[in-house]
């Protein structure tokens, strides 16, 4: 049995996306910059994908820029926006729970003369709104917020935050990293006041190596990759047409039967958390206090539908991970992106987690393909393995 509960790391490519990918790789493999028929055909795939994505966001196709994925989109949004507007203002605000692909570009900007402020979060990962608003200054240029946190699945009230921030300063530019939210939420940047939006293909059953950045009309950004002037000069380099076509297909599929799929993930999450939270010395992360002890749906819906972060006191996450792997269940310790570093997780530190628990935290992340049987089996295995693993520990 293979139960894949690491969908926040990456997802399985859908059949539709795979077919599109192969079609463009083997049949319609022209370069969209070529003048001939094959170039035109390739360009059509891009237009089609841009149209699908634009429709899903209710924006214009020309506002979609294709990149190599979430990391590049975040870099382009932050560095590109800062460089294009540096004469206007040089203060940037973000949160303490961002992904490294937001955090590191901001560190780079800080080293190059920009001022960066970090807004704190509460113990469930929710931004402390007043503290965020207090950071807005005369020279604030840009605010970068994470929609759904990749490590613990907490969600920010993006529309409310955008509205309030723009009330405080009209020309503030807002970037949202929606890598984990896209496909789990309906996001309409124009209504919500989002100027730049990052998302990625491989988190929504598309291939790796493709992502996009929505850039609102009128928001100026500079390129970070220079060359032949592709995509209006903002992202040079021959477009990844197979990836783009497959991304379009994946976006189309992810929003089909959307409400039912999301509702199902929530009910699986509820079941999982209800069972696992009853075990001894277990902490559920990224969930607001009002969810406890019953994880009522109304409260649970304030968190992401697909991510469950759990700390099992007294068991090292790596050991638990491999023990589950042995049972055919694949999960992450903390977040896959940061699990190779021995440094403590940024998000878990920001929510004030005890250092001992950090090393005991697992992330279970679902997709629309996750079934109830899989969740039942996982609950059963967690219950069975936990006492065994607790029996053998490093004595302190």
């Amino acid at each position: 049995m293979e139960i894949y509960l690491d969908n926040s790391a990456t997802t399985k490519v859908s059949e539709g996306a795979r077919d599109k990918l192969l079609q463009v790789l083997y049949e319609d493999y022209g370069n969209p910059s070529s003048m001939h028929r094959m170039g035109v055909k390739a360009e059509q795939y891009m237009k089609e994908a841009a149209a699908i994505i634009a429709a899903s966001l209710k924006v214009e196709p020309k506002e979609i820029l294709f990149t190599s994925g979430g990391t590049e989109s975040n870099n382009l949004a932050l560095i590109g926006c800062a460089m294009a507007n540096k004469r206007r203002a040089n203060h940037i605000i973000t949160t303490r729970i961002e992904h490294p692909s937001v955090h590191q570009p901001l560190v780079h900007l800080e080293e190059n003369g920009f001022e960066v402020s970090f807004a704190p979060v509460d113990s469930s990962g929710k931004l402390i709104k007043e503290k965020l608003y207090e950071l807005v200054k005369e020279n604030t240029l840009l605010v970068s917020l994470m929609y759904v946190n990749n490590e613990i699945g907490c969600v920010q009230d993006i529309p409310e935050l955008c509205a309030e921030l723009k009330k405080l300063k009209k020309d503030i530019i807002i970037h949202v990293d929606a890598t984990q939210a896209f496909g789990k939420y309906k996001i309409y940047p124009k209504r919500e006041g989002i100027d730049l939006l990052t998302f990625s293909g491989h988190k929504i059953h598309g291939p790796k190596g493709i992502g996009a950045l929505y850039v609102s009309n009128g928001v100026r950004i500079n390129p970070v990759v220079f060359g032949g002037g592709h995509q209006k000069g903002l992202r040079s380099g021959t477009e990844n047409v197979p990836g783009i076509a497959a991304l379009g297909q994946a976006v189309q599929e992810i929003y089909q039967d959307f409400d039912a799929k999301v509702a199902r993930m929530y009910s699986l999450k509820q079941k999982f958390l209800r069972e696992v939270s009853r075990l001894q010395d277990v902490t559920i992360n990224g969930v607001p206090l009002e969810c406890f002890p019953d994880f009522e749906m109304e409260a649970l819906k304030k968190t992401a539908p697909h991510i469950m972060s759990v700390s099992f006191q007294g068991v090292r996450s790596e050991v638990f991970l491999h023990a589950l792997e042995d049972k055919g269940i694949y999960v992450s310790s903390g977040s896959a992106c940061s699990s190779h570093h021995p440094t403590p997780s940024v998000t878990l530190t920001a929510i004030g987690m005890d250092k001992n628990l950090m090393d005991s935290t697992l992330r279970f992340s679902m997709s629309e393909l996750t079934t109830e049987e899989e969740i039942d089996y996982t609950i059963e295995q967690v219950k069975e393995l936990l006492p065994l693993l607790r029996r053998y520990t490093r004595k302190r």
């Binding site: 790596e318 050991v319 638990f320 991970l321 491999h322 023990a323 792997e325 042995d326 021995p342 053998y392 520990t393 490093r394 004595k395 302190r396």
Partner: protein, 391 residues
């Protein structure tokens, strides 16, 4: 310019009647090292080995491969002159010097050897005449027969060979001429170095790694395989035995005092490694232990782990400081791999204060508590061992 290499060896030249065994082994090891790179002709003649290179071979790559063959003391890149006719020979040697040393402000000496005893000049005469020729052709050069900065060696056979560069080899003895030993390979910095050092004395290797899933990950195992591959660049192919040690470890955890866990565990590792070594026809065990480095490597702890096997245990690093071990690890390119942060089975349950001066008597008494199941568990571990071909 170089079409061949002259390989010199030191120690094996000292052997008596069985010298040919060492020479053949060295020739075979050189063949194996060069085989993946192309069609080299390796031949044995009069106290050295001669490697002729194929058309279009890569010089750097060839030298690097030769520098990993134990038993080689030096490697001389050789230019070949097709005829021993004096005019052709002198011109060839002159052209060689011209190409090799664009700045000719240096002292030199010619050394000569001749295989053809009927040649028109004796060896000392070749030196004198060749020296004179070179001085005429390159007036800036000066002779210094005592401490020349360049020694131009000319060998006269049917063809002639000239060389002046000597690249040091790794030394040691060719692998395979001194039996086989079982290396306990952990994934740390020391054990790969220990394996390298013993192998350098001509010993071929087998290795054992103790894996403890789920407490140690597949990446930790992969790291050990990667290390084995790095050592195999020197030692040639060998077998890596991966023993699943989890059940034994947990059993010890359940039955024995926690501070003795590491010592008892290591005693069982030695026992299992010895069994595998016997099966493989090994004549000894190799560990990377060094006195006092950690609690399990004090003199008392070493005595306690040593006691369980009858096979000799070779500990080439026993008197080495860590920094000296690291130096070798860096040189043989295992260091970067060794420091990847994956837990190995020695550290997962380590006590906060493990015993540092275990008494063998006490340890034996603790081990009595394992009597019920341990033999069956060892047998199970032996039966389920995974064998990985390395190199």
């Amino acid at each position: 310019m170089f079409k061949a290499f002259l390989i010199k060896y030191a120690e094996i030249g000292l052997k008596g009647n069985n010298r040919y065994i060492f020479e053949n082994a060295l020739r075979d090891r050189i063949k194996e090292a060069l085989d993946p790179l192309g069609d080299y002709l390796v031949s044995k003649e009069q106290g050295r080995i001669f490697v002729e290179c194929p058309e279009g071979y890569d010089y750097e790559e060839t030298v690097e491969a030769l520098q990993r063959v134990f038993g080689i003391s030096s490697i001389c890149p050789v230019a070949v002159i097709e005829s021993s006719q004096w005019e052709i020979l002198t011109k060839g040697v002159g052209d060689y010097v011209e190409a090799m040393y664009p700045d000719r402000n240096f002292t030199f000496k010619v050394e000569a050897k001749r295989a053809d005893k009927n040649y028109q000049y004796t060896s000392p005469e070749i030196c004198i005449e060749m020296g004179a020729y070179l001085l005429r052709r390159f007036p800036e050069m000066k002779v210094d027969v005592h401490e020349p900065s360049v020694r131009v060696t000319v060998e006269v056979r049917t063809k002639c060979y000239v060389y002046s560069i000597i690249i040091p080899g790794p030394g040691g003895m060719p692998v395979g001429c001194n039996g086989k030993a079982m290396l306990l390979l952990s994934g740390g910095i020391d054990s790969p170095v220990a394996g390298y050092m013993i192998s350098k004395r001509g010993v071929s290797l087998a290795a054992t790694y103790f894996h403890a899933p789920p407490y140690t990950s597949d990446r930790a195992k992969q790291k050990v395989v990667d290390l084995a591959e790095k050592i195999a660049k020197y030692t040639g192919k060998f077998k890596l035995f991966v023993v699943n040690f989890t059940d034994i470890q947990l059993y010890i955890y359940d039955q024995c005092p926690h501070e003795e866990l590491t010592i008892i565990m290591r005693r069982y590792m030695m026992r299992i490694a010895e069994k595998l070594a016997e099966q493989e026809g090994c004549l000894g065990l190799i560990t990377g232990e060094s006195i006092g480095q950690v609690a399990s490597q004090t003199m008392q702890s070493l005595a306690a782990t040593n006691e369980v096997c009858t096979m000799p245990v070779y500990r080439p690093l026993i008197a080495f400081d860590k920094k000296d071990i690291v130096e070798i690890a860096e040189r043989i390119d295992t260091f970067e791999t060794s420091i990847q942060p994956f837990e190995d089975c020695c550290t997962i349950f380590v006590a906060k204060h493990p015993v540092t001066k275990p008494s063998t008597k006490v340890i034996k008494r603790s081990e009595e508590k394992l009597e019920e199941k341990i033999e069956a568990m060892i047998e199970e571990a032996m039966n389920t061992v995974e064998v990985i071909a390395v190199g």
